[in-house]
């Protein structure tokens, strides 16, 4: 399938609106155009966009309409398998889907490892972090092997759902977000964590370090539209993707909402 047909078949249904909007934005945003084309691939959005996660890439589309966004369905060969991508995104999915996604990605395990080593950007939100873990342990001890890339494993308990709010420090950026999950993760992430906990929990309630960061691969249990909730984070991500002075979509409003949330979370 050519890239163009792939995009046509998989982009969301308001393609016309989007193209119209994209054309307008293109004129306004030419000043931050990067030197080379940015390619962003979302893996299996028809299955892995639960709880608003799917909107992270829609937001990036609004911020950098000049980039190429590829949505790869589960039955297709991932674009990254044969081409370079600048950012690979995957979001939250159901437990059953986790097993299907692991099966799918096992064929590309080495390629994924190489990409992480090479410094390709990854953003993995919600329970997609577990796909890259050593294994997921079910209630009765059965283990589902993961891709074995991250030095952590997850324990699942479908009768107890953990919900919490999160504030943490990722380098100099305060990250806000939400947790809602049936699992806790364990293992050593002291040398490869994503954010230091200020409010909320890390890999598990005893941990003060949230998520994983290996080179430019970021994986976090935070779910929902984290790119919309965290303008400083998104700006940094766009800079790292090669956009010198990124302008965020609805920047002023996104900033106000972020500041309000941060203040609320800190006061809780």
């Amino acid at each position: 399938m050519s890239l163009e047909t792939k995009m046509k078949s998989t982009l969301d249904l308001n393609l016309e609106d989007f193209c119209e909007w994209k054309n307008q934005e293109k004129q306004e945003n030419t000043f931050h155009k990067p030197e080379k084309e940015i390619i962003i691939e979302s893996l299996f959005p028809e299955y892995c966009g639960y709880f608003g996660d799917g909107q992270n890439m829609k937001y990036l589309q609004k911020c950098i309409p000049e980039a190429t966004f590829i949505n790869t369905p589960l039955e297709d060969i991932p674009y990254f398998a044969e081409h370079d991508v600048d950012l690979l995104y995957m979001g939250t999915m159901t437990e059953h889907t986790q097993e299907r996604v692991i099966q799918k990605l096992l064929a590309y395990q080495e390629r994924i490892k190489q990409m992480i080593e090479k410094g390709v950007h990854f953003l993995l939100t919600g329970n997609s972090i577990e796909i890259f873990s050593q294994y997921i342990e079910k209630e009765k001890g059965e283990k589902i092997p993961g891709l074995g890339i991250f030095p952590i494993y997850a324990k699942r308990d479908m009768m107890h759902r953990h919900n919490s709010l999160f504030v943490g420090k990722y380098e100099d950026i305060q990250i806000v977000g939400f947790r809602s999950q049936f699992t806790f993760a364990y293992g050593e992430n002291a040398h490869c964590y994503f954010a230091k906990v200020e409010k909320g929990i890390g890999l598990n309630p005893q941990s003060t370090l949230e998520g994983i960061k290996m080179n430019n691969c970021i994986a976090t249990y935070l779910l929902g539209p984290i790119c919309i909730l965290n303008p400083d984070f998104t700006r940094k991500l766009l800079q790292e993707l090669g956009i010198e002075k990124p302008t965020l979509a609805f920047e002023e409003d996104v900033e106000k909402a972020y500041k309000q949330r941060l203040k609320e979370f800190e006061n809780l």
Binding site: E46, G52, R161, I228, A249, A257, R261, L268
Partner: protein, 458 residues
């Protein structure tokens, strides 16, 4: 799991009954505490207490309460005597309260029929002890992500716990529901393809994309909304079920619907979700042996309760209030779709913030991004007025939906919204509100009515 009564049971029953009497004497709500007390002191109380001979259960994500109301009103009018939990909660303790009230001091039920609304998330605490004779499942959608996670979790739980003897009355247009408890006896209700159906899902959320048998990709013959529609597998012979109670014609002009078996029913509301609610009611009552005449005679007189839907003409403008459960993406999307498809120019109030979180925490707004705010991006919607603790998130979400900022009024204080309402050219004002914002909705409606009257007097 059926348990003998024993001394502990009687002791708990008396205590619960006494607490109920005491609460009533002091004028307090007695629908919650007695049952809560009983299941706390005696965790298998629901198993020990006698149940009425026939139990109609109603479960599902959306429409449970409305369907129960319709079933109860129809049964009552046709001379049936029954117990129900419509004043109490739909979890195990609420059912216990109802059964305690319905039992005499020997623990015997005074009535032979019960209508229970049953929370789908409470399956694990209810079905080991209660075997519904009939269980209606209206639909299964994403609901509160904190409590209900996702539909796979809920449907698995229902599969694990629905008793084998229960006859299921299932929405055959919902591929998650129609695949529940495959070994149980069942009938399906559904609505044949409508002119408004599409061939692709227009919603953000579709929780049924692959075949439950082989994992192959599903092809939709038509999509009504989200995963509601009819589909078949592209790899095996799995497909939507054959429908037993199927609407094959809807006449909105004359407010009537026709079933494939030739029966005709009067519609009490033109919203597709309420047509499904009526159909679920008809299916279970027909299974119980009620005739079309008896059902229709009663159903046609009913109306959706005011706390859920109301319509009032003030001068030349219609003021419509519509329940739109916050944190429930599909319920809100259905309402947004309804609003955009209503005729005329509209202004829309949105009051969906969780009031409890607003007072004590900070709401997880991820659900807003599973909700089709995009439907509000419609030429006929001239102004959107949004207020509450999450008003700043609201501005962002509406812009993500492509809605121009000029159309948006967003304020922290709900009661200051109406001063910004622009009525020129507006034919309908919608007030969409959360379940727990009834008094707020009433105040805003009052303000809107006064503003319309004031402007018309000028």
């Amino acid at each position: 799991m059926r348990n003998k009564k024993g001394i502990k049971f009687y002791l708990v029953l008396y205590l619960a009954k006494m607490s109920r009497i005491a609460l009533k004497i002091v004028g307090r709500d007695a629908t919650y505490f007695p049952g809560k007390l009983a299941v706390t002191l005696c965790p298998d109380f629901l198993g020990r207490i006698e149940k009425p001979k026939t139990i109609i259960g109603v479960t599902g994500t959306n429409g449970k309460t409305t369907v129960c109301n319709m079933i109860e009103d129809t049964l009552r009018e046709n001379g049936y005597d029954f117990i129900d939990n419509h004043l109490g909660s739909n979890i195990n303790s609420g059912l216990a309260s109802t059964l305690i009230e319905g039992a005499n001091l020997k623990g015997k039920q005074k009535k032979e029929l019960a209508v229970f609304e049953i929370d789908e998330r409470s399956a694990v605490k209810v079905y080991p002890y209660i075997t519904p004779t009939y269980l209606v499942c209206t639909n299964l959608f994403r609901d509160s992500l904190r409590r209900n996670a996702h539909t796979e979790f809920i449907s698995q739980m229902l599969n694990d716990y629905i008793p084998k003897q229960t006859k299921l009355i299932l929405n055959g247009d919902d591929l998650i529901v129609s695949n529940l408890a495959k070994e149980n006896a069942r009938v399906y209700f559904g609505i044949d393809k409508l002119p408004t159906d599409t061939d692709k899902c227009e919603n953000i959320v579709c929780d049924m994309v692959s075949c439950p048998v082989c994992g192959g990709k599903l092809a939709y013959d038509f999509v009504r909304y989200n995963h509601i529609g009819r589909a078949h597998c592209t790899k095996c012979d799995f497909c939507s079920p054959k429908i037993d109670y199927e609407v094959n014609h809807i006449d909105l002009e004359n407010m009537k619907m026709q079933l494939r078996n030739g029966e005709s029913y009067d519609l009490i509301n033109n919203n597709i979700i309420n047509i499904y609610n009526m159909l679920a009611t008809i299916a279970v009552l027909k299974e119980m042996g009620l005739s079309q005449e008896k059902i229709n005679q009663s159903l046609r007189k009913q109306k959706i309760v005011d706390t859920r839907f109301s319509k009032e003409k003030v001068g030349n403008i219609e003021v419509i209030t519509h329940l739109s459960k916050g944190m429930n993406p599909i319920a809100c999307s259905r309402v947004f779709d309804y609003v955009r498809k209503e005729k005329g120019n509209k202004a829309v109030f949105i009051l969906l913030d969780d009031l409890h979180d607003a007072a004590h925490s900070s709401e997880n707004i991820a659900w807003q991004y599973d909700t089709d705010y995009e439907f509000l991006n419609d030429e006929s919607i001239k102004q959107i007025l949004i207020a509450g603790a999450r008003y700043l998130d609201g501005i962002v979400r509406l812009q993500m939906a492509g809605i121009p900022k000029e159309k948006i009024v967003a304020k922290r204080e709900e009661l200051s919204l109406v001063e910004s309402l622009q009525l020129e050219g507006i034919e309908k004002v919608f007030i969409l509100h959360d379940l727990y914002a009834i008094s707020l909705k009433n105040k805003i409606k009052q303000q809107v009515v006064e503003k319309i009257k004031g402007e018309e007097a000028k």
